[in-house]
Structures are given as C-alpha cells and as structure tokens.
Symmetry: D2
Subunit: 344 residues, 4 copies
C-alpha cells in the first residue's frame, strides 16, 4: 500500500538524518541551549528578516499551540479560532486543560475574516454581562489552514489591523508552513508573516524533520519567561540539539522552502487529475492537502493501492477524503496515482 | 423604578429572615456539619422521596455547576450542553478553568433532545481520530432552561435512556427549580427528577433565599469525596448553618413550592397580557422568565417605570427583552405592569 | 457546651442582622454593583486613608486567597508562604487547583522574615537550573498569623523592601484583621497596612459578619480584570448587596475595630489565666486565638464544659489546643472559663 | 572539555542511529500505533515477564511524570514524594499546573521509607480537618533516586504493602532505570519492579536513546483512557515510530541492560578513585551519578579539563558537585579522569 493519508508517515529528509548522524557523538549541553540551536535560530531570524525574534524549538504542533496560548493568556482570557481550527477540535482539550476556553467563529473555506473578529469583539464588549463571558485576547489562525487553504497578504493585514483595534495577539499555527509558503498563488512571504504575527511557528514535523517546530516570538511581553512555560507545558526536549541540527539543515540552503514547494506542486497535480475526472473538490486548497469527494466505488478502487484519510460520508454512496503529499513523496508515486485516477 | 430585570433583586423571604434572626446567636460548628443543615437535608430527601441522596449546600449556582462538573469528570472528559446552557456562555470560563471543555449542541427553545445526544455520541465514537477529541462524559441541562422552558417527563426519560447507553452522567441545573416545578403544564415532579438525574440542585438564591443551592447526589461514584471538591472549588461556606436554616424553612411546609408556583403564575399573566397586545413571545416559557420583543417606542414607554433585561436588538426599531417575576413580586406590581401593557 | 473552638460559631453581630432586615426588600442590582457595596467601599477606603484602593467583596477567606493569587500570578509563577500559612496547609489544594505551586519557608512563631524571603530569592536566581524551578512572584503572609501572632510595622516594612527588590507582590491575608489591629501591643494601623501591601483583605466572616471579606487592591496591574477572576474563581455572590450592607455597618462607626479589640482583650485575659496556672503557651499570640498545652486530665476537666480545638498530642499525657474568642463572646462566658481554669 | 555534567550530552547509541536510518523511509501510521512500537511493547513485556502490561512511549521524563500523575489522580488528590523528588523540585511546577499538589516527606539518602508513608497517612486521616487538606493518593519514588541511590527489594516490598494499606498507587520514575538495574549490589530485577509498581517507566533518553520513555502500566484503572491523557498532556509524538524503533533496538538483545551496567561500573570506579583520595562522597550511590565534595582548589584543577554539575557550596572553600557517566562514556575517558584525580 502507498500512503497518502497524512504528511508524517516517513522519518526525516536524508540530509537531516545525515547531519544527525554526523553530530551524534558531539557533547552538547541540553534543553536547546547548544550551538546547533543557536545557529538554527540565527538562520531562522535571517529567513524572517527580523533579528529581534525569539526562537524556541518545541517537539510538536500540539506542544507549540498549547505552550504559546498558555504563556500568552492571563487565566481568564480565551483564544478565538475558526470552528475548524486544530485547537478547537483536535487537541483533546489540551488548551482547556490549561484553563483557557477556545472561542469559535464559523469558518469559510477553513478561514476566518477580519470582519468576523471585529464583529465578535464589538458584540462582546457591547454585552452588558460580558464580565461573565470569556474575553478574547488572542486570535489563532493556521497557515495553511486545516483544509489546506491560505490567507492572502491582504487578509492577514486586515486581521492584524483588527487585532490591534481590540488588543488581541495574533498567533499563526504554521505546522505546514512550508507547504503554504511554496504553494502556487501564495502571496505571503516568511518575512511578511513574521512582521504581521505576534507569534507563529515554522513546522518541521510535517516538512522534512523527525519532529520539531520553531516558535518565533515578536511580542516583547510574550518573550519574557517563555522557557518556564515550555517546561511547565512539557515542551522542552532534553536533547534539544536534535532540533537545532535539523533546523540548521532545513534553513542553511533553503531546503525547507524547496521541500514545501515541491509537495504542494505535487498535490496540485493530483487535484487537477481528480477535478479533471469530474470529482468534486472540497475547498480551494493549493497546498499539500487535497480534499475531495467521489462515489464509493471509485474510492474503493483507488483504496486497493493507496491509503487516504476518510473524512466522512457526505451522502449515500459517496466518500469524502483527504490526500496528502509531503517532502517524502516521490514524483513517480504521484505519476502512478494520477494514472490510476485517470483510469477510473 | 420597579425592577423586573432578574429574580434576585431582593434579600430573602421574610420567613427565612425571621429564622436567621432567631437562630443567630446559636453556637454551631461550621462548614455545613451542623444540626440545621442535617435537618434541611432530611427535609429535602423526604421531598425527593429518596433517603439515599447526599445533599450539600453551596453558596450559588456557579459554584454548584463548577463543583459538580469538576468532581464528576476525569481530567480528559467534557460536558455536553445546549449552546444556550449557562455553563457554555455565562460562567466566565469557570468550567474550563478547572480543565474541562464544554461541548455544545444547538438548542431548540432552550432545550436539547435525547436524539441529539445520541447522535453526538455515535458520531464521536465512529470518528477514527476520537482519541484526539474530548469525550463527553456528562450531560448538563437546566430545568427550567435559560429561556424559561421545561423538559417534559417523557423528554427527560428519553435523555436518561441515552445517558445510560453512552455512560454519561445526567446533571440538572435547578437554579430556578421551584419556578419550573410550579409552572402551569409542568409534568415533572421533584421525586421524578431525583430519580432521573445522577445529580441536580435545588436553587435557593433565586427562589426565596439570601443565597444557597442544595446539590443532591444520587450517583454513588460522585458521592465519594464530594466535600473535598467543594473545598477545592471554593464552595464551602464557613457558616454553613445559614443555608441549613434557610432550606429548613423553605422545605418545612412546602414554602419553596408555593413561592415557585405563584411567581410562575404571575409571569404567565404578564405573558398573556403582552401576547394579547400582539407582541411576539420568544419561546414558550411558562415559568418566571418571559422573553418578548416589541417596537422600541413601546419598550421605551414601559421602561419609564420598569426595569427589564434588554437581550439584543433583533431588528431595526425592535427590542428583545426579558421580564422576570420572583418570590418577591407583589400581585399589585404585576397588576400595575399589566395595566401599563394594556395601555400601550 | 460553650464553644471556644473557633471564631465563627455564631451568625452576625445584631447590628448587622438589623440592617439586613431593614434593607431586605430593597430592589438592588446584583453582583456587588449596588449602592450598599459602593458605600461600603467608600467607608473602607476612608478607613484605609487611600482613595485609590479597589475594593471587592468575596464570600470567604478561601475564595479571597485563591482569587487574589490566581489573578496576580502568571501561570508559571508561585507564591511564597510560611509552612504554617493557610494556603499551604488548609485550602485542600485549591491554590494548586488553579495551577500554582505554594512555595514554603519555615515559620518562626507563625511568621516569616524579610531575610528569609531575601535568601530564598537570592538562592533561587543563583541556581543555574532555576528555569526548571517555580519562580516566586508573590509573598503571602497572614495578619494575624494562623498562630495568632502579629508582624510589627518594622517587620512589614522590611518585607516590603525585599518584595520590591525581587519584584514580588505582597499579599496580606486579613481573615482575622480586626483581632490583629485591636490587639494589645500591635503597632500596625489599617492605613499603614494598606500602604505596605499590594493587596490585602479585611475579614468579615470571623469578625462580626455572616460572611464576606473585603479585598483591597493597591497594585494597578492587579486591579485590571479582577472581576473576571472573581467570577472564574467562584467568588461572586449574586446578592452582593448582602456584603455591602454588612461592611457598611461594620465601618460606619468603627464597629469593626471595637469588636476586634474586645475579643483580643478577652483572649489575653484567658491567656493570662492559663499561664498563671503554669500551663505552657504555644507562641506569643496577643490576639483572639490562644494556643496552649496542658496535661490530659486538666484538659478533660475543662472539656466537660467547653469545646476547644485539639491541635495534636505534643507528648504522652498532654494535649495541645486552641481557644478562640470572637465578637460574639460574652464577658461572662470568659469570666466563667477563667474561674474554671483557676479551679483546676 | 570533557563533559561529565549529565547523562544526556550525546545523541543515541550507534545501533539505534543505524536502525533509525534503515527504517527512515518506511511509511508508518503515526502516534505510536505502528508495528515498531508494537514490537517494542512485546519485547518490553517479555523483559518484564508480564504480558498484561500496557506500554506507552512518551518523549521524555517530565512528560512521563506529569501524564501518569494527571491520569491517575482525581482532581483533589495529591502525590507523595521525597523532598528531593524530581517532581517536587525540578519540573517547574508542571504537576501543579495540572492541578495537583506534590506532598513531600524528608528524604534519607534520596529515599523515603514505608514507615514514613505509613505515618503520613495515619496522621492525615487522624486529623479532624483532613477534609481541608490534600489527600495522598499516589506515592512517587525514583529508581535510582535523584541522588543515585537504590531501593532494595525489601524496601520496595514494604512500600508496596503500605500503599495497599492506604489505597495509594505506587509510581516508580525510572528515568535512569538501566543504571539502577545494572548497578553493583542492586537486588531489584525488572520483573520484580513490574510486579511491585502500579506504573513505572523505563527511561530511554538517559540510557542510549535520542529520547523516549516507556511507561508501563499494571493498574487496570490507569490503563483506561491513558492515550487521552497523553494527548492532553502534550506527550504524544506524531512519529511515534521513532521511539518504537529505538526501544526495539534497546530490548532485542539486552543492549539496554548492558549499557546501564557498564556506565554504573564506570561511575563506581570514579567513586572509588575520589574516595581513595580522601574526598567526601555525598550519599551512597552505586549508579551512574556520583556526588562528592572537595576543596575548591582541587575542584578547579579538575574543572580545567572536565565539566561537572556544581550542586552548591557546602561550606567556605568547598564545592559539592555531581559527576555522571552514561552509555556514551568511553573507558579511556574514565581512565583519564581517574588519572587526573589520582594526580591531585
């Protein structure tokens, strides 16, 4: 079976494995305070065109989401998210476990708008009883979103403006950031993202690394004491150097962006093949995750060879599913899948 | 101004004040372990026709809601509520503060149905990724609901059946229980409620007392260690005897039920007057809270004399509002309001 | 039996009951936003000689302790307390329930010193691994302490200086404040306390009220959003006016101070009687709580008529116990006890 | 500089790196549900001689400690630990962050005794006010302890008996388990540990792996829903297979035990060299961590070549420090250190 079910089925890109091997017996101090982490931080700051960013390496996306939110919010405050946001649905209540309510607004194509956030806040503060309702203090968005879509620069800029209006921190979940930056049609650069968000992260787990997310903090208030929050939220790895070495490799020669660009292009090829056969795309993703629905028989035929994520049964006799490419997807595998799609 | 804005604008029913005065200089041990609390417990068990209920007195509804939920759930579990449920919207995140997610389903006329709960659970356990989604372990409903409506005995029985099917505790918020039990058309008795719910409470704060809610526990698992949870959740009053004395008085001669019945009848008179003038009722409440909308000018005219809770602006030139009666509402005050409504 | 076991065995001082009765049928808005609360706030600010204090009324001491700590600390921070501090031993883990560690230092006669706090912080920041140890951000002391003793003005001033040095908030638990202010030999005034502490509270529950503590906040940072924290920490009473009325009465004509002074004087009379008979005082309390040990037979003789709190068995054949007076203790009762002590 | 400061300065044992490389491009499902994890589980169960153990792989020791405690305890319960226990001092309040108080008793040579636990519980339940004090529900011990010492089989058996008496779960932190099992004089086998503890873990991070701890659960109650707690406590790694592959390699041919035995033997050689020169050992460790004190000048001389962990200044002119060996320590490095010690 060939797995297209998610973007973390393999280990790490061979270049990263090689560097882990080469540095394996170096003696380093722990907890991310070693020279590899420092070098990776410098490379990331350079790629973000912002020397003042604090950069921390956390083992995974859930850790990054929860630690950032727990560190940023006072105990009575909540975080605003799309109803499809990862923190709203797939963190097993880890955000609430730290005491914070996730406040949701309905998504459109996986996204929320500046206008929605503005209305939410205006109505909140207009409510006489708002003392008894959780106040929003942060906006959480994903780039790409959970459905593979992308905010435009204009959309992000508008959200930034609204965040400033209502004193909200803007947090961008970049678990799949590489696939977004490299997607066809994307107009958001990494420096631009770093300038708009108060805090965001660059996902490694899904984009070439064994594990690891680089949390980048622009907000001065959030910088303070962040390592305490990492420790308390179970997000410090003893051998932090492992993430330093991997992010060094990903950012030395643009490997991170190269991997992202290629996988999104592969996914769009699959999208076009499926759409070309008349199957219905679910949403407008141009990134490495594609969502489609098709008749059960067609799906069953493909499922003889390939593993996809089944999302739901959208109607009798139909299956909605996700197909993912990743840094590890070979062109020939994509060719084979497309051939099989065309043969349906 | 005459206040109809909520049901806790006055102190306590004079009979309760009198008993507090009479017992004021008695020396009692603290924390609800005194003879008055014991006597009140016995009276409540008798009214519930269940000698095995554990009864605890907590100062208010938020304390009762949070303590029961925190005591009942393991840390990863969530509580299912109507989207209009008090715990979902008006507890300032106090439930999440204890680490638990409030899971919501859409209400109809303030209520949720057995079928909704059943579907929610079926879909939850059918989801392959449910390990990463908060599992429901309790159903929270209000009787009366936040919009004044009532579950029928048949509806509660069906919910009980679904709770048994999915291993869910059933928790009934009875902050306004007296107004529900005594409402025209209600077919749920207190013994019946005590037999269906795993835990519920009898609200005193809004039904004749200075403060105090009697939490009644039928679930053996929940009985264990409940006082620890009360203390930890800031819900033990040093002079617990104050609630014992008040609940003794409310339950000795049926005063609690008498107060509830009268206030709901008064509210229904107001409902009929408003509806009789062609104003639109919002929902089907037969209890002490009535929700209506009317043109702004009519509302402004009434607002010269009376205070109501404004809910929202349902459309241009219209106001939605709540009018509440309580144990303290005099018949003449209701007569006056009705006269003024009729004069609009 | 005559109870000397604690200082909350009766209801409220008759003057408070009278005012509650007189105001019982007034219609007030809820949650502490009514005119009685506002008036009580003004009276308290005047007594504190500080017009800028924010004053909030919470139902009890546990609520005050937990809400203040939870509101003041960021999630990774801890609170420093004597090992005998109420929050360290008798809150059933309510502080930890909000996520904060209570850090303890050994007490001397119920107190901790500026030097201890200074050393604790110096050692903390000197430790290379302090990123993995909870940082102190607040000092909690009780006035009077749990063993009835009092800090002098000089001691409090020194603690204030150390708090400023290490950026620590100073929180004074005044559950029995009246008994401290009025104690023989005390040199700390209420205005002085209000000038030294960042936040403190004036206990009503143990000093004449049915319940209620007045939390007074001087720290600007802590003032912000405090009502959210009250709600989230289950410390808002629906009928907040009840506390407003009681504190009005306590502070209108100095009743609060009068009650405290008298009870401490009574306790000192008992102390002198016990010491005069050769029994061993435990600590140097001049306030309403006295701690002694005596042979079991002597204790048993007194226990035929009086209820005390047994603390522990300090050795074979000996009992350590607490005797409390309160605003409700009659002079004749004290006379009787002293006569019985002298007759041992 | 040669680092003896801790036992996680290098990457992973070369055999593990080799296997990670070989399996790197295998497609596996995520979250520890892959065949490598299943195989590792089988090997661990076999080594523990218990087919009924549930085995979960978590990224590190803090994650293991917090997840086990949070999963095991109801919200009001606490965990009993030596005052030197890792959870009491070095987890940055992560246990309290989940709402639980760490209850401490004084250590002797890093250990606590069955008698201490028994007394603690007896006094707890004898206290009339214990409803307001956190109840112990779990005992946490480390094997080896934080000071390198080991419980004997007899000591563990006695603790087990006391845990049964007071209904306490027994949790053994095995972050350095390999170094304990393989230490000279140790009489506790892995199967014996697995039979005595309700839950324990086998540390990989410090004993040959890049990262990873194998949590082994014998308690049926704790087995239920453990994966939810892992997710909620940020302890599920997306590519769980990485830990499966590593633990497979560690347990296939006894590599884990071999690495532990060798490092402890090396440490004992260093101990003997230091003691032979008349320096004072701090505690009786026979495992990979050795604690000594010596004059500052001697320490400074060694510190020219070697990095140790300075613990504290035990007196004027003296330094207390820790020296660690690990799976990565070469015999020649130990020889060199011993030569330099002998040359002091």
């Amino acid at each position: 079976m060939i797995r297209f079910e998610c973007d973390y089925t393999e280990g790490a890109h061979p270049a990263l494995m090689q560097r882990l091997l080469e540095t394996n017996m170096e003696q380093c101090c722990g907890y991310g305070l070693d020279p590899h982490c420092d070098n990776a931080r410098a490379l990331i700051r350079k790629a973000c065109e912002n020397d003042a960013l604090d950069v921390h390496f956390l083992p995974g996306g859930t850790q990054a989401n929860v630690t950032v939110i727990a560190a940023a919010l006072r105990s009575h405050q909540g975080v605003l998210s799309a109803d499809t946001g990862h923190i709203a649905v797939h963190e097993a209540g880890a955000v609430e476990h730290t005491g914070h309510k996730v406040l949701t607004v309905p998504n459109t194509d996986g996204k929320i708008s500046a206008a929605q956030i503005d209305t939410y806040c205006a109505e909140y503060y207009a409510d006489d009883t708002h003392d008894y309702i959780v106040p929003p203090a942060m906006v959480y968005i994903s780039f790409p979103t959970e459905t593979g879509t992308l905010y435009t620069d204009a959309e992000l800029t508008a959200i930034r403006t609204v965040c400033d209006r209502w004193d909200l921190l803007l947090f961008v979940d970049g678990a799949r950031l590489g696939y977004g930056i490299g997607a066809p049609g994307n107009d958001v650069t990494l420096p631009r993202l770093a300038a708009l968000a108060d805090v965001f992260y660059i996902g490694g787990t899904k984009v070439g690394a064994l594990f690891g997310e680089a949390v980048c903090i622009r907000s001065e208030a959030l910088k303070k004491d962040f390592r305490y929050h990492m420790k308390q939220n179970l997000s410090i790895l003893a051998k932090g150097r492992l993430m330093g070495v991997q992010f060094e490799t990903l950012f030395e020669n643009g490997l991170y962006f190269e991997l992202g660009k290629k996988a999104s292009a592969q996914a769009v090829r699959i999208r076009e093949a499926l759409a070309g056969k008349g199957f219905t795309p679910l949403g407008s993703s141009m990134t490495n995750q594609q969502f489609f629905e098709m008749p059960d028989e067609a799906f069953a035929k493909l499922a003889e060879t390939y593993v996809f994520s089944v999302m739901r049964k959208p109607g009798p006799g139909r299956t909605a599913f996700r197909v993912c490419t990743s840094w590890a997807t070979a062109d020939e595998t994509v060719d084979a899948l497309i051939a099989d799609i065309n043969a349906l």
